[in-house]
Point group: C2
């Protein structure tokens, strides 16, 4: 079945804000076999909204309207749907009572205007919204002889998502023909996108019944495989078969078979080896530590580290000798190694990571261009140092460098 999501709100037609709810809704809809064929963003103008609803009713079976259900004059979704379908709005006593009760609980005044949130489209079912004052609505109707389903949900993400999960999905499962869907997410690090596609396209092209999506960002490649079949067993078998072949092709570029992040995998391996990690970051300025500590429970394996932007701190926190800094320069393989060793010894960690480079836009010399990064990993046996050249602006160089560093730790632990 085909669906369209209409996001209502003039703020999403500015340069500053984007509809993001629809990504969540799309994932949930796909999981029960509903395709999203169109997304439309329309402002708070009634005529525009009525037109967009009529267009959608011609081209899809299921229409989801997000936003425009609040109490203000700009909130026009209920009115527009009623107009587009030539239906009436009735003010429902139970909803009026619920609004009064809510205002009383929060000790808030209850302006007359608020009551428009109690208006229900003729034939629609009210969908309870525990996190806000505007309920959703569910309307099955006939339009030009075809059965159409319209779902109205509130715009704020903390209202939209729970209401969609609890009120819409169970109802959708009853009206959408049953499909069995299997899904897997694989992830690989630092493989060039073109090389990944060259390796994988001949494989996934053989599986026209499995939808493969490739997403690439700063040294990270995510592959999502989705298959929909009459039986769950067959769907999972197809996804499993394709995933296994792709995993083999990706070899040790692959770091996750179940969608975990690279920092989660690094922490998993650290736990498995009963090892601990400390980092000394120059060019990434805390980005690696920040990624690792974003994972709950990371304190079990991550001791911490130092952000050693100045030469003095490289000496103070990681015991890099001033002579070494003088001789090779702060951005050098030797200093990266000294940082990794120094931070390991100073913290008592099993593994030490050192990273130094030129993130740009300034700081380049004749022999050391913007994007040059040295990364070293140290344990009690040895310290290995790696040279990399990343292209692009400051942010991009830092993101690639952090990703590469995490991947080198993963490879060390594998």
């Amino acid at each position: 079945m085909k669906s369209e999501i209409i996001a209502v709100g003039s703020e999403m037609l500015t340069p500053f804000r984007q509809d993001t709810n629809s990504l969540y809704l799309t994932e949930k809809l796909n999981e029960i076999g509903v395709t999203v064929a169109f997304k439309t963003i329309v402002g708070d103008r009634r005529k525009d909204l009525v037109g967009a609803i009529r267009n959608a009713l011609i081209r899809v079976d299921i229409l989801i309207l997000m936003g425009g259900l609040g109490p203000t004059e700009d909130d026009l979704t209920r009115e527009a749907v009623a107009e587009a379908l030539s239906l009436t709005l009735r003010r429902e006593a139970a909803q009026v009572a619920a609004l009064h009760a809510r205002a009383a609980t929060w000790r808030m005044p209850m302006p007359e205007n608020n009551l428009k949130q109690a208006d229900v489209i003729e034939g629609a079912t009210v969908l309870a919204n525990p996190n806000g004052s505007a309920p959703g609505q569910w309307l099955e109707t006939l339009h030009a002889g075809y059965r159409k389903l319209l779902i109205l949900v509130p715009g704020p993400p903390n209202e939209c998502k729970p209401l969609f999960d609890s009120e819409c999905l169970p109802r959708l499962r009853e009206v959408v023909p049953l499909r069995h869907i299997a899904k897997r997410t694989l992830k690989a690090a630092m493989i060039p996108e073109s090389q990944a596609d060259k390796l994988l396209a001949p494989i996934y092209n053989e599986y026209s019944d499995v939808e493969t999506t490739i997403l690439a960002h700063a040294g990270d490649i995510q592959l999502t495989l989705i298959c929909s079949k009459a039986s769950q067993e067959i769907a999972e078998q197809r996804v499993e078969e394709l995933a296994t072949r792709m995993e083999e092709a990706l070899d040790d570029w692959l770091y996750s078979s179940e969608g975990e992040s690279l920092e989660q995998i690094v922490l998993y391996y650290l736990g498995l080896r009963q090892a601990t990690l400390a980092v000394a970051e120059s060019c990434t300025g805390g980005m690696i530590a920040q990624r690792i500590t974003s994972v709950p429970g990371s304190s079990r394996s991550f001791l911490g580290g130092a952000v050693v932007y100045s030469n003095e701190l490289k000496t103070a926190f990681a015991d890099v000798s001033p002579e070494l800094l003088e001789r090779y320069g702060a951005v050098s393989s030797e200093v990266a190694s000294a940082l990794a060793e120094g931070i390991r010894k100073r913290t008592g960690a099993t593994l030490g990571l050192g990273i130094t480079g030129i993130a740009g836009p300034a700081g380049a010399t004749d022999t050391k261009p913007v994007g040059l990064v040295y990364i070293a990993v140290s344990d009690t046996q040895k310290t290995d140092s790696f040279e990399r050249n990343f292209r692009g602006a400051r942010d991009r160089v830092r993101e690639w460098a952090a990703q590469q560093a995490l991947d080198l730790i993963r490879r060390k632990l594998m």
Copy 2:
């Protein structure tokens, strides 16, 4: 003039990828007085695309199509526009030659299919694309008696944005009636969103000719004021007047009058005072250092710091005594102050920042809930410590804590 942006590509109808180009295009269009009234996202299906184009031609004057200009079978934008307008496509010799020349430069093979990128819609002007093989197209036409402008631009951001700037904007300025637009961006930190709106709404509501947009994220509030007038002077005067009144109302919540980030402002004040900063981060795990070092040239005022996740590192890098940790616990006002003082003395910085808290989801005790954060700022005169309670999940607590810490440094330097 009203415009619609149609983003073409099935990948933007998955849960994984979003159209982001349109935010950039919207900003540029608004600056010359063109409103974006609709955004539509449509997949690589010719019938869907033709329908979307026809809908758009009814409701707007300017239609921008992004994507679907490449060499593959899925790239159908040229064909769909021609079909929607009943125009022909002609293969242009000059474009064919350009494609061959490009393939030769890159030493790439030139499959027959690639040549479809040389197809030009009847009456259209070719827009050069220096960063890719598919050129854009510019088409002024009559549709149902109305003048319509269609612009086709490539989808990849690194092709779309420069092509739009160099080829489309100058042409748009010639066809769009001249409007003078003034714009200002104000930013405030740590003021509750509801309080900001209560303060500001009575003011900006008096200026119905200035469009005010409020964006809030993790303790950061951004206000954008845009005014379009017959003369530049009047537009700027109106924006200036409103901005001044809002600045006064925001008082010292305001940190930027020209759109700078909080980390830029902190670095600006550090430079002004010839001061340096070092940080000792526990719960934020490097996030503060990472934000500061994202600014080019930050090394002039930011020395670095320590990510002191374990108690041992709090002692090793910031000289927090084990007795203090034992007596008050790692998450305490006393330890935050010791971190700030310790890191300042150890690094020789003018200012030291210490932060410790419970980011969650685990780690809470009866007396110390998730979201409890202590932040201390230290200089040679004194050390001040602040207690905060942030609500929400781990990421949210960390983001609020980092924002609060940066704002406390700003206030210290003001």
